[in-house]
Symmetry: C2
Subunit: 676 residues, 2 copies
């Protein structure tokens, strides 16, 4: 029954896990294939994992990096990422390169398996190359993509400044065109104009795409991208006028070498401005591109990637917490019985199983969003731009809601492991550091929810004006004057209820804006005063969509699946839906025909589902098929030898390499003896 | 108007903060005195802060510790904590010692000001000394307290093992009495029996109180405390049979030197068992103490301290996030207007202001609990033990709910600071590391809620049996057959509503246990199956009490306060109550006479309160009167020079001390050039 992609197949398996695996009612490999998309996709992933994880040059070093100094961590990360890029290049030469390869190797689940706390060179592939590809002219692309693709140079992407993140129109870095020399002159006029945050900017990159306010012929034309050389290719010394360094330690991602960058009259040739869209001619004439929507694409792409990454982090956390909960025995439910596997405490199931289901919800949403993205960007290449706002709106809220939920979920998993979850060797703290970062980068979550809300309010106006709505908001039409049916114990009913709630929240927010405008407030101030409700409407809009996507996926897959796996997926779908319904029971009671007793029914349904999932819990997370090198956790390995691993990891601490630390002789002993 | 306890009074204040302070409607110093308890208490605190913070030997070193290696961090922490203990001893000699001094210096707000990420010697005062005082005989106390109090030795407290935390009856370490030599022989029979987690155990302590299963005359008598010497006082070498080291890196508190400890036939004299309660005679005869409740006291004491510490961490976080939100300007609410202070976005107010109010709620609850603790332990000394269960029940849930809420609150503050909150220099990540640890130590939160639930179910049974209930659960009597009045816009109404909800939840859980027992389940299994509801009932029981305590405190203080401050405190009280009511709107709708429209009223009330508090927000957090050395944040200093401080802090990174890192020559350059 057991299915195990792990290398250490020989090790003794914890007997509790053996028993758990015997209980599983479905074929684990089938679940793995379902998640990967097909048997072939699983095989492909295995091959990729093998290619990287079995390479001795990519083994983590003997002293775990958390024990090193900040500087040593960086140096070790550079060693590892160079080895990794060498391997990526080799793969590229052998099998041809595809963006998906880099995505899997730098992000997804493989990225943190190889470099646990980030990659100092990651933005080279994730931002530098794509920006040049997306915004360079043919000649620029030919020149720079070649250098970047061949890894002759390392680039990053410098947009955010100390004083500006969300509001990019407010960026202060200037690029002033000097027609006499046909150069742009870059300057950082204030402290707040210093670039701040770009990964790899501190010391690792020698080039960057820099976003700056363009001035030509005495006029400002707004922000534009420029390729700027930062450091000498031979010596790595910062070029003249470049003030550069790293920004310091962070909650996580401490090897990503996030940097700052100031300019003091730095000159770059005219053809270093990326001119696929807007152009500056030799004499300084500025020519504006017909549409600014063309640059939207990469921003949305990054958010699509974040949703899947968030789901991956949550997946890892539930693997760790579920395996640990099956191995850990603590207390006796009943005196005289053996100590209980903590997974048998219903409060523990209540913490973990809904999160297993939440992984599926966001994972399916991420795949769905990826397909939508490809479909709509395909349409865009044909000149059709009308579905872009809907894509943007759903990507914004999905990024916000998935990162918020998955971050909270990772923490729930950590806390569910008690004190041992607090150990770095559990890999839960580091995973939290990675996933929570996504709540504020690439669009702060509240800001993103309010962007979605803008689309919802527009849609509601369109609905009032009698226009047809786009698919993701079509529920507004459905529920405007229709109440939901009384409670039924079906996922469909919960979807209806969430859609009704979302529709009511949008209507209510819309009306409150109108009410405030009528009172004399400017629309923008009315918007701000209504923003708590607006954000909440966008949140519910997202949840209604996520649940509908999950439902569609399970129902459409069932015919191709074994009955056994179909049952399990249905249970997970139901669990997720009930979990969300209870979480938002206040909204259900307020906006739908739900009554108090229905909430008791939902609670009983949820408890039934916990009991149904219990025997398959280990099977499900085994089916996630993460190799131990990817899970990287003392608490979450396939063999369940939790205590042995905790002990072995502790022995790696440099403090444990000597029986007595020098601080005893230097500080403690003189003090203690002075008190005698 | 401005009131500033900070040293750097000379620095230029950010003009936005100057304006904010001018808006404040109350006298800030009055709020400070209110929080401290009196003008004299404020002066005393100032003197203590001055004593420690102005001492040059206690200045943090130039390179912030986050840049050091794990080993260097430990060594630096030993240097600092020895300097600190030296200063504490000096104070003790000058002014006499009081436990409160150590509590303030090691925990509270001063502890993390001096040692940001924990104190490797902290348990000496917090656990080692109190355990000997509480459980030693007169002779033992005379011998050991002298050595410990004089700091001739450093001790820790070793209870938790790799395999057992919550379930202390399951501890595996054995102490077997050998009547021939009149010694106990300590052993660690399994890997899981290794002590694991005690602070300072790794390398810093040379003594420990060890909890072990006592065997005499072939019989096990359960767990007992023993004083064990771990390391040689001259050389610090581990004694024979002692296997010891540190457990490795953690999410936070990385200098607390948490350790592991195994015993291989370690012999200690008979009088090293702490025998105030139970005794072992020379011949091995075991004599049991009359009551085991005597040892309850310290456990409850520690939880009382945790509630106040949790509130202190939240206080620090809201200071940081509120000051930053007043300085940070981002986006324009309306085009053409200057960029907005982000504190003017209602979504930001919605995140921060309820947390300011939450600090007051838990701070007052902590003070209330401290008084109750003193009152009841006073009664206990008179032999009256009957109020102990109530104290235990309320301490358990208050510890659980306050640490959960304050941890989540600190994270909300961090995320409200956007990317900059992710910087260690903001001090928000480190603060989170400290506060979240309290969710799992000294009683895992869910376990504690279920302990409270046990008391609630017993109380409900007592109520059914016609007995009079204790004060903290007396609401059960009040609401059994009485419904709450319709919504009123008053705090009193919300207290009634929460009490009604708590009473209903207790009743429902009680009935569900009975129902399951009738179905044939053993009581303990019925309990487990009902545990999600039980934990939720305990949570609501806690919240109803916290709100009532907050209300009492504000109403009883008002007559002694200026009208202006009274108004502000009333607003904070109302904000907290409305915030909780909305958070639990599902429960209100389900269990009370609340209807959907009332929730809209609550929402409108909350938004009004945000607007009321807005002009005083800075004044309130200034009134918290935390010196910059305590806040330790680039984002939260009194002068608001956020960007300057971020930049200055970044310059301290060792990576920034050289323009080119050696890894360029070693790894990057050879790779980039090989691709040419």
């Amino acid at each position: 029954m057991a299915y195990n992609n792990n290398k250490n197949k020989g090790t003794k398996i914890n007997p509790d896990l053996v028993r758990e695996r015997e209980k599983c009612t479905f074929r684990i490999e089938e679940l793995t294939n379902y998640i990967d998309g097909s048997q072939e996709a699983t095989a492909e992933r295995h091959a990729r994992e093998q290619y990287f994880l079995d390479d001795p040059s990519l083994r983590p070093s003997d002293v775990p990096s958390e024990y090193l100094s900040h500087k040593e961590k960086y140096e070790e990360a550079i060693r590892m990422s160079v080895a990794l890029f060498r391997r990526v290049k080799q793969l590229q030469n052998e099998k041809g390169g595809a963006v998906d390869n880099y995505r899997q190797v730098l992000g997804g689940s493989l990225g943190p398996a190889l470099l646990a706390d980030g990659n100092p060179l990651g933005l080279h592939y994730v931002m530098f190359l794509p920006t040049i590809l997306g915004q360079g002219t043919l000649e620029q692309t030919a020149e720079w993509v070649q250098k970047a693709w061949n890894l002759n140079i390392i680039g990053t992407y410098a947009q955010t400044e100390l004083g500006h993140g969300t509001f990019i129109r407010g960026l202060e870095t200037t690029a002033t065109y000097d027609e006499k020399t046909e150069e742009f002159v870059l300057n950082s006029p204030t402290l707040t104009s210093y670039k701040w945050w770009p990964g790899g900017l501190g010391h690792a990159s020698n080039y960057a795409v820099v976003i700056a306010q363009l001035y030509t012929q005495g006029k400002c034309h707004g922000i534009h991208p420029f390729i700027v050389q930062l450091r000498d290719e031979e010596t790595n010394m910062p070029l003249r006028g470049i003030k550069i360094g790293e920004i310091g330690c962070k909650l996580g991602m401490n090897v990503t070498n996030n940097g700052y960058l100031g300019f003091d009259n730095v000159r770059i040739p005219r053809n270093h401005m990326l001119m696929k869209n807007n152009k500056v001619l030799k004499d300084g004439t500025y020519i504006k591109a017909p549409s600014s929507k063309l640059t939207y694409g990469t921003m949305i792409f990054v958010r699509v990637v974040i949703v899947e990454d968030a789901a991956q982090y949550l997946k890892k956390a539930v693997i760790i917490a579920t395996r640990y909960s099956a191995v850990r025995r603590q207390s006796q439910i009943k005196e005289g019985e053996p100590e209980t596997q903590i997974i048998d405490f219903v409060t523990q199931q209540y913490k973990l199983f809904p999160l297993i289901a939440t992984f599926f919800a966001y994972y399916h949403s991420a795949k769905w969003l990826w397909n939508l993205y490809n479909q709509i960007t395909g349409e865009m290449e044909g000149g059709q731009l009308d579905r872009l706002p809907e894509l943007h709106a759903i990507a914004c809220c999905l990024k916000a809601v998935s990162t918020a939920d998955c971050s909270a979920g990772v923490e729930t998993c950590r806390l569910a492991c008690g004190g041992h979850g607090y150990m770095i060797s559990s890999n839960l703290p580091t995973t939290y550091g990675l996933v929570t970062a996504a709540c504020t980068y690439e669009g702060e979550n509240t800001v993103l929810l309010l962007q979605t809300a803008r689309y919802l309010v527009k849609s509601y106006q369109a609905f009032l004006d009698g226009q047809k709505l786009t698919p993701t908001v079509s529920y507004i039409e459905k529920y405007k004057n229709v109440s939901t049916p009384p409670f039924q114990k079906r996922v469909e009913w919960i979807i209806q209820a969430l859609e009704k709630v979302a529709a009511c929240k949008i209507e209510k927010a819309y009306n409150n804006i109108q009410r405030r405008v009528k009172k004399g407030l400017a629309y923008e101030h009315a918007w701000n005063e209504t923003s708590v409700e607006l954000a909440s409407a966008a949140d519910m809009h997202c949840r209604a969509n996520v649940l509908a996507i999950f439902q569609d996926k399970v129902q459409s897959s069932k015919p191709t699946l074994s009955k056994e796996l179909g049952v399990v997926l249905q249970q997970l779908l139901e669990l997720y839906s009930v979990f969300i319904a209870i979480r938002f029971s206040g909204d259900l009671l307020r906006y739908t025909n739900t009554i108090g007793h229905d909430i008791s029914e939902l609670q009983a349904w949820l408890e039934d589902l916990l009991a149904c999932i219990r025997p398959n819990a280990l099977g499900i997370i085994d089916g996630f098929d993460m190799r131990d090198e990817v899970v990287r956790s003392t608490l979450g390995s396939y063999d369940g030898n939790v205590y042995e691993r905790l002990f072995i990891e502790a022995q790696k601490s440099p403090l444990n390499q000597e029986p007595v630390n020098q601080s005893f002789h230097k500080h403690l002993k003189p003090f203690l003896q002075s008190n005698m």
